[in-house]
Symmetry: C2
Subunit: 395 residues, 2 copies
């Protein structure tokens, strides 16, 4: 492990059966056994070190038994690199209280934008999940059939899926939950953490999840409790606050309490500013649907060299009229396959003409861009210029 002299930023390595991961790392999300619109070979080209699958979605469709029969997720989807699956716990939140209140993970980050999850967008807003101390009963967002997850069943399903890294089943509370509710939920998450460890019987790495909402005492309690259990890595999960400051505070309280020798995964967060701020605060692993989801809506990433900034969120919308006749690649400073071969005008045309190739090209660029960005973070930690890099992006 290599640590930055001036911050908590660090470089680390995770060894898995499907290869080595160097952190900090960004994980593309392959919710339903595919990183949307992208071929596995393209992920390799892009330099993806590990991808993330969603247990809730894969459990419902096509089902863990089927995936197990096909030799696990790796073989089923033709990806031989490392995979991490989540536990389904976040869906407890998004189908339950999140659904009822129309909440995402951090609703206030981008005012005016719809930050609800896909599940929330396409399902009537009523609670689809009910939590008790033993587990969660929920209704499928596909056909409203009734299902139940417990810590034991989540671990069992994740074993069937066969990812290299699996997560403990937790309850993800809303930032609108009060201290009393969050304390109660945290007790459940802790009891479930122990049950996950007891149920876990494979070689898969098992990561624990720290919850506690935005309450300092609860986050600290959770950091201490989860750190002491024999997990292979630690996640910081849950609703991470109403503002970025709340999220940073939460990391400032929690991360110093974590053992140095275990990887730390910040669940579901990966804006460019977030990656810088949270790497600085000692986080190692990041995942988010944003590069691919943005891509499919025509939002493409540009570097500070090409005009990307905090104001435009390092992106622009390729369907907009100014790009109709633009000879430049998406990002003139980018050397990806898409930027080497296609103009903004061509990709603009593909979107306007509803051509499927649009989604592949923009997803490729955004993922490539994100991976080179994280590469540059690692390089900067190595050569002691991390804070300079941060300043370059955020100023």
């Amino acid at each position: 492990m290599h640590e930055d002299g001036e911050s908590r930023a660090r470089i680390g390595e995770i060894q898995t059966e499907h290869g080595k991961i160097t952190t900090p790392v960004f994980m593309p999300v392959g919710t339903k056994a595919t990183v949307k619109a992208i071929l596995p070979e393209q992920l390799k080209e892009i330099g993806a070190q590990i991808i993330l699958g969603n247990t809730y979605h894969l459990y419902l469709q096509p089902g863990p038994k089927l995936i197990e029969e096909f030799g696990g997720l790796h073989k089923f989807m033709n990806w031989d690199g490392p995979i991490l699956t989540d536990s389904g716990g976040f869906q407890v939140f998004s189908l339950g209280i999140g659904m009822a209140e129309g909440l995402g993970k951090m609703t206030n980050y981008f005012p005016g934008e719809d930050t609800r999850t896909e599940v929330q967008k396409y399902v009537p807003k009523k609670k689809l999940a009910k939590i008790d101390d033993d587990g969660v009963t929920f209704y499928s967002h596909i056909d409203h059939s009734r299902h139940r997850f417990t810590p034991e069943s989540s671990i069992k399903i994740q074993e069937q899926l066969g990812a290299d890294i699996i997560l403990a089943f937790d309850e993800c509370t809303s930032y609108s939950a009060d201290h009393a509710y969050t304390k109660n939920a945290l007790a459940r998450t802790h009891s479930w953490a122990k049950r996950c460890i007891a149920a876990h019987c494979t070689k898969q790495a098992l990561f624990g999840i720290i919850q506690g909402g935005t309450f300092k005492d609860l986050r600290e309690e959770s950091a201490e409790f989860i750190s002491k259990l024999p997990f292979d890595g630690l996640c910081i999960g849950g609703s991470l606050g109403r503002t970025k400051k709340e999220m940073h505070d939460l990391l400032d309280w929690t991360v110093p309490m974590l053992p140095k020798d275990k990887p730390r995964h910040l669940l579901g967060i990966a804006g460019f500013d977030d990656l810088l701020e949270c790497t600085e605060r000692g986080m190692d692993m990041f995942d988010c649907v944003s590069p691919t989801r943005n891509a499919r809506s025509g939002l493409v990433y540009i570097s500070p060299e090409s005009g990307g900034s905090r104001q435009n969120k390092w992106r622009f919308r390729i369907q907009n009229t100014p790009f109709r006749n633009d000879h430049k690649p998406i990002d003139p400073a980018c050397d990806c396959y898409v930027c080497r071969n296609y103009s903004r005008a061509y990709i603009h045309h593909l979107f306007r003409a509803n051509e499927l190739l649009a989604y592949n090209l923009t997803s490729y660029h955004n993922l490539y861009f994100m991976h080179r960005f994280v590469d540059s973070i690692r390089e900067s930690i190595k050569d002691g210029s991390f804070l300079e890099l941060k300043k370059f992006w955020l100023s």
Copy 2:
């Protein structure tokens, strides 16, 4: 040129600035400057020798001037192989009488199937085009704006698009048109053919189009007339009859009248049986949207070795329940990228989960399959086993 001993089947070569084409050849259709859902590099892998672009669509979106500014279609879409553009003439038909009557090229071929073109499906059924002796006035299917094509403007647009092979502007009549109407339309097509030659001033190869509906005298008249003009190649176009027999008759009348040294393109037809029957009758070039359109609807091709037959049209629907748990590749006899790496069950899952990767994988397979099929036709002509190959597929 190599001819089959027992039929009119033949092997030929076409030299273009972007490479050599060996015929018989199948051309994937890239209507709007992209072969739907497929990367140009994948087309190369598949062995595509030439692709087809549609002048009508490209004229409306993004426009020939823009494509010209970008160095032509090849550079705009990142395809450095040969390209052929049609003249927009077929849209005269499909937006005009075809639209009014809900007709495709050959409606009776597959009873129960909707064979209308995309344009016909998505636009209210009224005539969107009006033909006069000078040209065609039509309304855009996108925004109903008014436009006009003449032989001269079609050639000009195709020059701007910059394909290697361009087509003369013709009037494509419906099989429901009577002898009198068709004779009149044919006179127009012949006069337009001469105007296209007069307007043509680039190095692009210019192909003429033989029309005449299903009337023997008119097809013969057209074959004679068009053959005598200094075209670089000859297309057989128009409504090719109500039945396959009518199409075969039409080729039997026409092809023997054509000069042997010019390539012959059968416009828009490329079923497996069609390719065999029409190659046997002396045709060299084929194009059709069917491999990619079928792919996007989940219809995937299988060889006779794997159960493909005239009855199932050498295809099956991957979304169907029996394939949910099928470990086999789409076609166990196929060695394409998709069949080497993915199960039917995985692709079934992608379709059921509405995942974009589905369209890429099935389009890849269908195009690869079609290209190997045409390879096998060429091989069989070379070694004198063409009729055996035909029997193997059609029996």
